[in-house]
Amino acid sequence: MILNSEDSLINIVNRNRRNRRGMAVLQLTSMIDMFTILLVFLLKSFSAEGQIMTITRDLRLPESTSRDVPRSMSVISVTSEWILVDGRSVVNLSAITTDSPLMINGLKEELERLRLLSEQIGNLSTNLQGFRGSIAIQGDRDIPFDILKRIMFTCGQVGYNNINLAVLEKE
């Protein structure tokens, strides 16, 4: 190493020490920009009540322009294979053919059980919500009306007259 007159050993040591003390500054500007945008976006989409209704798997809900928010209630999910009530499979769709009766028996029994349960809860205290006759249907967008008709008929026969069709909000 060639040293000229000013690069004495002491000077080199001093320079190294200055560098080691971390005088190099991190450029945080772009990261802060990104975080700010992300933060604003996430705060905008933040909802305090959280998700009331969970979407069943292997189910594509249809899209709609409706903006009515769902309330908490029992959910009948209709996938391409099964009818589920509150996440438990009740009836296989292959059991329903065009010449079977309108009433779906397995579903009817399950709904009657649910109705009885909610009525009993309602009787316990006036603060608790009893039977209100509302139920949500989450249907795959490809299910035929025939299936939907039978489900709605069964709901109506049991006493669930207020049917809410769950949809995804369209942008």
Binding site: R67, G156, L165, L168
Partner: protein, 153 residues
């Protein structure tokens, strides 16, 4: 400190040698962003409310029907959509590749123009019609000013 030194000192200060201390901001970001990411829901659920007629309501409805309220019936078939409204003759909207939503919308507006108080549409799909189509028809009816929808088999 003379004037020359003071000026130089201030100039150096303005030249950006001093950094903003970002530690606190970074701490907030590091906590808030994971928290919000975890709670974020990217699909938004909505509901379409629909009421099946029950016995008490049926009685009330028939008393309303004696007034001037008009009930329109909308048939969804595999190859066309037919809207039926009293005293208006409407041609069936044919389905070519897709249903013609604009034609249906203009027919509904026509009905709304003739009967402004009319709020009800009864949707009658064929049994093979897909759920998605029914929802789309219900959307169009609500947009056209018919919020009371019911489905009949």
């Amino acid at each position: 400190m003379n004037l020359k030194d003071a000026v130089r000192h201030r100039l150096r200060g303005h030249a950006g040698n001093e950094d903003v201390n970002l530690t606190a901001v970074m701490n907030i970001f590091l906590i808030l962003i994971p928290f919000l990411l975890l709670t974020a829901s990217f699909v938004r659920l909505a509901v379409l409310e629909m009421t099946l007629p029950d016995l008490e309501r049926a009685g009330r409805q028939s008393s309303i029907l004696t007034g001037r309220v008009v009930v329109n019936v909308l048939f969804i078939r595999e190859n066309s959509i037919q809207l039926k409204s009293p005293e208006i003759s409407l041609a069936a909207v044919p389905k070519v590749a897709e249903y013609d939503w604009e034609a249906l919308r203009s027919q509904l507006e026509q009905v709304k123009f003739k009967y402004p108080e009319s709020m009800d549409v009864i949707i009658t799909p064929e049994s093979t019609i897909r759920y998605e189509i029914i929802i789309a028809v219900m959307d169009i009816c609500r947009d056209a000013g018919f919020p009371n929808l019911s489905i009949s088999g």
